[in-house]
Symmetry: C2
Subunit: 245 residues, 2 copies
Amino acid sequence: LRTLKLILEYNGSRYHGWQRQKNGTSIQAIVEQAFVTMCRHQIHVIGAGRTDAGVHAMGQVAHARVDVNIPDENFRLGLNSLLPDDIVIRRVETVGDDFHARFSATGKVYRYKILNRKEPSALEYPFSWHVPQPLDLEPISQALAFLEGTHDFSSFKGPKSKTDTAVRKLSKATVIRDGDFVVFEFEGDGFLRHMVRIIVGTAVEVGLHKLTVEDFQTILESKNRKKSGPTAPPQGLILVRVKYD
Amino acid sequence: LRTLKLILEYNGSRYHGWQRQKNGTSIQAIVEQAFVTMCRHQIHVIGAGRTDAGVHAMGQVAHARVDVNIPDENFRLGLNSLLPDDIVIRRVETVGDDFHARFSATGKVYRYKILNRKEPSALEYPFSWHVPQPLDLEPISQALAFLEGTHDFSSFKGPKSKTDTAVRKLSKATVIRDGDFVVFEFEGDGFLRHMVRIIVGTAVEVGLHKLTVEDFQTILESKNRKKSGPTAPPQGLILVRVKYD
């Protein structure tokens, strides 16, 4: 038995998220199926994070323990030939048996993309949230600065989040304008369920001047999900990278 | 009766090209259908160029003559509410009755995107041609330089091209590397059927050192489609802009 570390890219549009579930097709299930075809034994593929339905990944990481003697690069080619076009294994690497995609992870980077122009986009609608009203990025930047550091993020925690504590450390929370797009980037040691999407949904209220920067700070300190804004839609979110020591 | 100029963006993946045809759904037919719903009379929507099946547009231009009194901006909103997500009207403008999307056009800009890395992309496969072998851009740039100016482009003319002459003027033919992508840009007074795709297909042979820069020049001068390379696949191509005086 050897442990493989995988780096995956996927378009989440057609899937019910990363995590295997009763109803709907998960990315995990599709990848496990490809492994079973190659290995001819049952395989569990463990992801670093559970991306929601419609959320994308450029650098999801997963691990699997396999009992076959196929070289890493052939494994990658074999898996990709079995996978649909919207799921790609970017890398396969044999690692030490103590590697665990989730527990060994020390950080994650997420990006959230808003299309901020009057008209929707025929090319970008599966990869962005369309906000037609002009967003003021100056107060958004100020609001995001409050998030950097270690905080209790209960105000930005989705329902059914099963973690004991909502304390997380964010090392980066930024926003930039890139043509018609407004792009958020978040880096942290871990993220709660829907955390990025609720932060973005609340930040957009600030960018529309429905909330002030002070309101945003008060919301963070309230540790109360009822105070924060709506959950931004999933298709703007992408898991960019998972970090390991 | 008034004449409307439209600027359209579309994802060509699901369509059999711009032009209405017997088999398969065209973008033109879908847009005309939306017009008929709004105007309640038969409408002909004339595009500046006939993009092939799978080819995209950021800035296709079309015109239509309508007999209703709806303001331009309401027209745009109404059409977009009737169109599928992968076809968007970016702009509607009432213009003089002598405006013709095709005959008034003085130039077009096309972009062609290659994903030039070993692994395919789960996010970009509908918008790029995957070439896994490293491309050498230096000879490609030199080859493209031969295309700038006025030439007979018979060597880069697809079948069933119905034009009398293959003489066209290219004011720009460039290539750059952008991360994992290789991006071509072409600007000219007009383009033959498949012209950009055959140029890119041939340029890739140069970038793989299967053809020399001199071979490329000889191919252009031969005015013979049999000498040039394969036609690059449609999904890497996008009509960026149509120019008018």
